[in-house]
C-alpha cells in the first residue's frame, strides 16, 4: 500500500476510534502541522500517536518547535504514571533519529488534573526529570475560533518556564552543537587507527564530544567501549578493574553478532568486579579476549569490517604522576604499553582519550620509567566555539524558551565568553532568569545590562580558574591580571622588541585558551574573565 494511503487509513482509524482523535486531527490541520505518521496504540482504546512537523515560521521562531514532534492523544479518561513511563519510552526510541524533536511532546487528554499538571511542571522546571510533556486539554482543541491561539496559549504557559541553558550533564545527539571539524578529525583518526588525545579546559565539552563520538562511531557499526574513568572505584589501586570493565563492554557490544562470537575468557563472565577470582591473570585473559575478537573481525565476512574503538574519558585518573591523583593506578605502564602494542599491530583497533592536561603525552618519563604513551597520541585541542557555533547554540536553545537573540546580542555574548560553551550557557541561563518576560528579543544592550550582576553573583567559576592559576601557574595569572587591567589588547613585546612573558606562560595561556594573540597583540579570550579580575582585584574601572 502506498505510504500516503497507509497514513490516511491510520488517520481514519484514529478519527473513528474516538471523538478526541478526530479533534486532534482537525486541530493539527488548523495549526498547519503536517502529519507524518499516525497509529493507534497497542491497546486501541487507550489512545493514538501522531507524529507531525509544523509549517509555521512564527511557532518555530517563538517556541523552537521544529522537526518531527509527537502528539499522543489519550482516549481514556485518566492518565497514570504508567502512561507517562510509556510515553517516555516512546520518546527515547524516537530520539534515536536525528530529525525527531525529543525536547518536547504533547499529551492531549480530556482535562488536566492538578496532580498531573504539577508533575509535568516539575519536568519543565527540572530538565533532568524526563522529557518535557505539554498537556493540552480537550477544551483547547474545541475552541473553534482560533486553534493556533489555543496552541500559543498552551506553549506560553509551558515552554516559557524552561531554562534550556541550565544543563550540567554531557550533551549528545540533538543537544550537541557544532564541533563538526573536530568530530571529523576523530572519525578520521578512528578510520586510520591513529591514537588520539583530546585535551582542553575544564567544562569545555570534552566528555560531550567523546560521548557524541561514541554515538556516531557506534552508529557506523564499530564496537565501542567507552570508559568513564571517574567511575574507577576509589579503592581500586590497579588496572584489573580496567581490563574487566573493557572486556565486559566489548562483550556486550558484540552481543548477537553471530560472525563475531567466540568463547570469552573475561568479558561477560563476571558481572560484578568483586567476583573476579584473585588468582585470575586478568591482563592475560583480557589479551585473550581482545585478540580473539580482533581475529574474528579479520576472518569475518563483514564489510566494512568493524573496528574496536576504546574511548577513555578523564585519563588523568590513571596517571602515575603529580598530574594524576594519588599516584594513579598500578599497572598503568603495562596497560598503556599493551594498548600501544595492539594499536601498532592491527588496523582494527583505535583508542581515543580525553584529559585536561596534555603533559601525559609530552613527558618522556614518569619517575625513572619511560612513558609508554610519549608522543603516542595525536594531540587535539578542543577549541572554544567559534562565533557561528556560539550563535547557533544560543539561538536554538533560546528559541525553545521564547528568547530570540539578535546578531549583536549573540556577538556580545561570544565576546564576553570567548565561545566557552559552559560560560555561554551559564551566562545565558543567568540572563534568562533576569529577564523573565516572554517572548523577548535580546540585544547587546540587554546583555550588557546584566554583566555586572552576573559577575557579582555567578563568578564562582572564574574564582576557580584564578585559584587554579595561582596554585599551578602564578606567572600566567599575573599575565591575566595585567591584560585585565589594560582592558584592551596589548603588545606582547616590550620596547626592546622582546616578548614580555616567558615562552612557557604564553604556551599555557594559549593552550588553555585564556589568552588570544592576534598580530602580536594579546587579549583575554573571555572578556568576562577580565571584568571579573577587575572586579575582584580591588581595582577601580
Amino acid at each position: 500500500m502506498p505510504s500516503s494511503d497507509e497514513l490516511s487509513l491510520r488517520l481514519a482509524e484514529i478519527r473513528l476510534q474516538h471523538h478526541r482523535g478526530s479533534l486532534v486531527f482537525s486541530f493539527l490541520h488548523a495549526c498547519r502541522f503536517r502529519i507524518e505518521t499516525a497509529r493507534l496504540l497497542a491497546e486501541t482504546t487507550t489512545g493514538a500517536d501522531l507524529i507531525a512537523s509544523i509549517d509555521n515560521a512564527e511557532i518555530n521562531e517563538s517556541y523552537g518547535i521544529s522537526g518531527s514532534t509527537l502528539f499522543r492523544c489519550v482516549f481514556k479518561s485518566k492518565v497514570t504514571q504508567h502512561d507517562l513511563d510509556d510515553l517516555d519510552k516512546r520518546l527515547t526510541e524516537l530520539a534515536q533519529t536525528d530529525i525527531f524533536n525529543d525536547q518536547i511532546a504533547f499529551l492531549i487528554l480530556s482535562s488536566v488534573p492538578d496532580e498531573l499538571r504539577n508533575s509535568l511542571y516539575r519536568r519543565v522546571d527540572r530538565p533532568t526529570q524526563g522529557h518535557i510533556i505539554v498537556p493540552i486539554a480537550q477544551e483547547a482543541l474545541e475552541r473553534q475560533t482560533s486553534p493556533l491561539d489555543a496552541l500559543r496559549d498552551v506553549l506560553d504557559i509551558w515552554l516559557y518556564r524552561r531554562d534550556l541553558f541550565a544543563h550540567t550533564s554531557p550533551v549528545v545527539g540533538s543537544r550537541f552543537f557544532g564541533r563538526e571539524n573536530i568530530l571529523a578529525t576523530l572519525r578520521n583518526a578512528i578510520a586510520y587507527s591513529k591514537p588520539c588525545g583530546i585535551f582542553g579546559l575544564r567544562k569545555v565539552g570534552k566528555t560531550s564530544l567523546l560521548q557524541e563520538c561514541e554515538r556516531r562511531t557506534r552508529g557506523m557499526g564499530d564496537l565501542v567501549a567507552y570508559v568513564d574513568l571517574l567511575r574507577l572505584p576509589a579503592d581500586v589501586g590497579d588496572a584489573r578493574w580496567l581490563y574487566w570493565r573493557i572486556a565486559n563492554l566489548l562483550h556486550a557490544e558484540v552481543g548477537n553478532r553471530a560472525q563475531l562470537k567466540f568463547d570469552w575468557r573475561l568479558g561477560g563472565r563476571y558481572e560484578d568486579y568483586l567476583d573476579l577470582p584473585p588468582e585470575l591473570p586478568v591482563a592475560t585473559a583480557f589479551d585473550s579476549d581482545l585478540s580473539g575478537l580482533l581475529r574474528r573481525i579479520v576472518t569475518s565476512k563483514l564489510n566494512p569490517k568493524p573496528k574496536v574503538v576504546l574511548l577513555l574519558d578523564e585519563i588523568e585518573r590513571l596517571l602515575p604522576t603529580g598530574l594524576g591523583k594519588e599516584g594513579g593506578i598500578r599497572g598503568f605502564f603495562e596497560f598503556f604499553s599493551y594498548l600501544r602494542g595492539i594499536a601498532q599491530e592491527t588496523v582494527h583497533f583505535a583508542v581515543v582519550v580525553t584529559g585536561a592536561n596534555p603533559s601525559l603525552v609530552e613527558v618522556p618519563q614518569f619517575g625513572l620509567r619511560d612513558n609508554p604513551v610519549f608522543n603516542f597520541f595525536e594531540e587535539v585541542y578542543l577549541q572554544l566555539l567559534n562565533p557561528e557555533e556560539t550563535s547557533g547554540m544560543i539561538r536554538r536553545l533560546g528559541k525553545g524558551m521564547g528568547m530570540t537573540f539578535g546578531d549583536d546580542g549573540c556577538h556580545r555574548i561570544h565576546r564576553l565568553t570567548g565561545g566557552h560553551p559552559y560560560f555561554v550557557r551559564a551566562f545565558c541561563s543567568y540572563l534568562a532568569k533576569q529577564r523573565r518576560e516572554r517572548p523577548i528579543h535580546i540585544s547587546s544592550g540587554d546583555v550588557d545590562m546584566v554583566v555586572d550582576a552576573y559577575l557579582e553573583n555567578g563568578g564562582k567559576d572564574f574564582r576557580e580558574i584564578a585559584a587554579r592559576l595561582e596554585r599551578d601557574y602564578p606567572e600566567e595569572l599575573a599575565v591575566c591580571v595585567e591584560l585585565a587591567h589594560a582592558a584592551a589588547p596589548i603588545s606582547i613585546k616590550n620596547e626592546d622588541g622582546r616578548v614580555m612573558w616567558s615562552q612557557g606562560s604564553v604556551k599555557h595561556l594559549i593552550g588553555y585558551q585564556l589568552v588570544r594573540i592576534d598580530d602580536g597583540m594579546a587579549r583575554l579570550t573571555m572578556e568576562l574573565f577580565g571584568r571579573w579580575i577587575q572586579h575582584w582585584h580591588g581595582v577601580e574601572q
Binding site: 497514570t80 504514571q81 507517562l84 513511563d85 496532580e115 498531573l116 508533575s119 516539575r122 519536568r123 522546571d125 527540572r126 530538565p127 533532568t128 526529570q129 524526563g130 550540567t168 550533564s169 554531557p170 550533551v171 549528545v172 575544564r202 567544562k203 566528555t207 560531550s208 560521548q211 567507552y226 568513564d228 571517574l230 567511575r231 574507577l232 572505584p233 576509589a234 579503592d235 568486579y273 568483586l274 578523564e314 588523568e316 585518573r317 591523583k325 594519588e326 584529559g355 585536561a356 592536561n357 557579582e456 563568578g459 564562582k460 567559576d461 574564582r463 576557580e464 584564578a466 585559584a467 587554579r468 595561582e470 599551578d472 572586579h535 575582584w536 582585584h537 580591588g538 581595582v539 577601580e540
Partner: protein, 520 residues
C-alpha cells in the same frame, strides 16, 4: 539531637531543593550554629511528609539527612556509602512500606553497589523519582580522610550523563563552612565546579520575632517586641545566638518582670562560641574584621573587601570568598540591594574587639600552634566536667570512684606525678597540682566512658564510640606535640584539630558559660 523548629528559612529550603534538583550537587555554607543542621533536618521532615502524600506520579523527591559525624574515624568510602544506604532505608520506611522484599544491607559498598542499592530502593517505592542526600559536616569526607578518587566517583555518578543510571535520581547537599572550598580544588573533576553554592545568612527581624514567640508564647506584645528588638540588634539575627537568647528568655519568662526578662537575655554568654568563630576566620576575613573593630565606618563593598584583603598581603581574589564568609559566619549582612555588607551581631564584634589584641600578638597562628591550643582547651574542659559530674554524683567519694575506674596502678602513677611536681617548683612552694592536673588525656577519656560513669555524660556526648574516636585522634597528636616531634603529618594535625573542635563544642555546652570562662 531534638528537632528544632526551623524559622525564616522557607526561601532557603526552596532554593536548596531546586538547585539540588537542577545541579545535582549543592554546597551549603554556614558557620557554627548558623542553623545548618536544623535546616537540613527540617528539609528531610518536609520532604518525607510530601512524599507520603505523593501516590499518583513517580516524581516525588525525598531528602535524606545524614550526619557524617556518625562515620567511624577511620572511615572509608565503603562506610560512607553504607551509612547513606542505611539512612535511606530508615527514611523511606517512614514514607511507606516498600513494595517487595527489603534487601539486606551489605557490609561493604563500592560506588556501583551504592548506585545499585539506591536504584533498588527507588524501585521499591515507585512514587519516588529522586533522593537528595543532605550531608551534614561535609568536611568528614574531604581532604585526607577519603581518597581523592572518592570525589571522582561521586562526580561520575552525578554528571556521567546517560551512562550513569543514577544521574537523574541522586543529588548531594554538603554542609559546612570554609572547608567546603576543598570541593573546588581538584584539577579534573571537582564537585565544587558543578555545584551550586548557598550561603546561609542571618535571620531577619520577623523571623527572630517568630523564634522568640515560638519559645515564649506567653509574652505580651510589648515585652515580646522589646526582647525581639534586643536579641535582633545584639545577635544580628544569627540563628544560633538568637535561639540561645530566646531560650534564656523562655527559662525565666513565667516568673520574672519585663526588665528581668531582658536582663536574663543579656546574661546569656557566648564567649566560647565566639572564640571558635575567631579561630576559624580566614586571613582575609580577619583583615576586614580588624578594620571593622578599628573603627572603619561604612559598608563593605566587594571592591573595598578586595582592597583590604590585598592590603593584608593576601590574594585579592580571596575577597570573593571573604564576602561570603562574613555572611555565613553571621557577622555581616547584605544591604543596599546586595551592594554592600554591613557589620551586625554586636555581641560578636564586642568580643572580637576584646580579643583582637591577643590575636595580633599571636601573629599568624599555624596549624600546629592552633591545634596545640585547642588540645589544651579540650583537656582542661574535660577535667572540669569530670570533676563536676563525679563530685555531683559521688560527693566526697569522687576520687575513690576515679581510682576504681582507672585501677590501682594508674592511680598510683597519678599520685606519684603530683608528689614529684610539688618538689619540682622549689621557688613556688605554695604551688600544688591537683590530681586532675596529673591525669593524661586518655585517662580522662576512660573516666568519661567507663560503664560506671557513662550515664553521667551520655546526655551530652551521645555516641560513646564517637567520643572514643575523638580522644584517640587527639591523644596521638597531643603526645607527639608534647615531645616536640617535628614535621607531624598535616592530615593528622587536621584530624586532631577537627576532633578537638567537635569535642570542645560539646564540652562547653555541658559546662555552661560560667565554667568555661577560665578556659579562654
Amino acid at each position: 539531637m531534638i528537632d528544632q523548629p526551623c524559622v525564616g528559612r522557607d526561601l532557603v529550603v526552596r532554593e536548596l531543593l531546586e538547585r539540588a534538583a537542577q545541579l545535582k550537587c549543592v554546597l551549603l555554607y554556614g558557620g557554627r550554629q548558623a542553623g545548618k543542621t536544623t535546616l537540613l533536618r527540617n528539609v528531610e521532615r518536609v520532604s518525607v511528609a510530601a512524599a507520603r502524600g505523593a501516590v499518583a506520579f513517580a516524581d516525588a523527591e525525598v531528602a535524606v539527612y545524614v550526619d557524617l559525624m556518625g562515620l567511624p574515624y577511620d572511615a572509608e568510602p565503603s562506610d560512607f556509602y553504607r551509612l547513606l544506604v542505611l539512612r535511606t532505608g530508615a527514611v523511606l520506611a517512614r514514607v511507606e512500606e516498600p513494595r517487595g522484599p527489603r534487601e539486606k544491607p551489605r557490609l561493604r559498598y563500592d560506588v556501583e553497589a551504592f548506585v545499585a542499592a539506591v536504584a533498588g530502593m527507588l524501585e521499591a517505592h515507585p512514587q519516588l523519582k529522586r533522593i537528595t542526600f543532605l550531608l551534614d559536616e561535609g568536611s568528614r569526607v574531604l581532604g585526607s580522610r577519603f581518597p581523592r578518587a572518592f570525589q571522582d566517583n561521586l562526580f561520575g555518578i552525578l554528571y556521567g550523563g546517560d551512562r550513569s543510571p543514577a544521574s537523574d535520581s541522586l543529588a548531594f547537599v554538603f554542609s559546612g563552612a570554609q572547608e567546603l572550598l576543598r570541593f573546588c580544588e581538584d584539577s579534573t573533576s571537582p564537585l565544587g565546579s558543578r555545584a551550586g553554592e548557598i550561603v546561609l545568612r542571618n535571620l531577619d527581624r520577623e523571623s527572630v520575632r517568630e523564634l522568640v514567640y515560638g519559645r515564649c508564647p506567653e509574652l505580651d506584645r510589648e515585652v515580646g517586641l522589646e526582647v525581639t528588638s534586643y536579641i535582633f540588634s545584639e545577635s544580628g539575627g544569627h540563628a544560633g545566638l538568637a535561639s540561645r537568647m530566646a531560650d534564656a528568655a523562655s527559662a525565666v519568662a513565667h516568673n520574672t518582670s519585663q526588665s528581668g526578662l531582658v536582663e536574663a537575655v543579656k546574661r546569656t554568654s557566648h564567649g566560647r562560641l565566639f572564640d571558635h568563630w575567631v579561630l576559624r576566620l580566614s586571613g582575609g576575613a580577619r583583615a576586614v574584621a580588624d578594620k571593622v573593630v578599628a573603627g572603619t565606618e561604612g559598608g563593605w563593598s566587594r571592591r573595598r573587601i578586595a582592597r583590604t584583603v590585598r592590603a593584608a598581603g593576601l590574594d585579592p581574589f580571596l575577597g570573593m570568598l571573604v564576602w561570603n564568609e562574613l555572611q555565613y559566619v553571621g557577622v555581616c549582612t547584605l544591604q543596599e540591594d546586595g551592594e554592600v555588607l554591613v557589620p551586625v551581631n554586636q555581641l560578636f564584634w564586642r568580643h572580637y574587639q576584646s580579643v583582637a589584641v591577643d590575636i595580633a600578638s599571636e601573629g599568624s597562628s599555624d596549624l600546629e600552634t592552633e591545634t596545640w591550643a585547642l588540645i589544651r582547651k579540650v583537656e582542661v574542659a574535660m577535667r572540669a566536667l569530670v570533676v563536676r559530674e563525679f563530685t555531683k554524683r559521688w560527693g566526697a567519694g569522687a576520687h575513690s570512684r576515679m581510682r576504681r575506674i582507672l585501677g590501682e596502678d594508674a592511680w598510683g602513677k597519678i599520685e606519684g606525678i603530683r608528689l614529684k611536681a610539688a618538689a619540682k617548683y622549689g621557688g613556688s612552694p605554695q604551688y600544688r597540682r591537683t590530681l586532675m592536673d596529673c591525669m593524661y588525656l586518655g585517662q580522662l577519656g576512660t573516666l568519661l566512658e567507663s560503664n560506671q560513669s557513662w550515664q553521667l555524660f551520655r546526655g551530652w556526648l551521645g555516641d560513646k564510640s564517637v567520643m572514643q574516636r575523638w580522644v584517640r585522634e587527639i591523644s596521638v597528636v597531643r603526645n607527639d606535640l608534647a615531645h616536640f616531634v617535628l614535621d607531624l603529618p598535616e592530615k593528622e594535625l587536621r584530624r586532631c584539630h577537627i576532633a578537638c573542635d567537635d569535642l570542645l563544642v560539646i564540652l562547653q555546652q555541658a559546662l555552661g558559660e560560667d565554667e568555661t570562662v577560665g578556659l579562654r
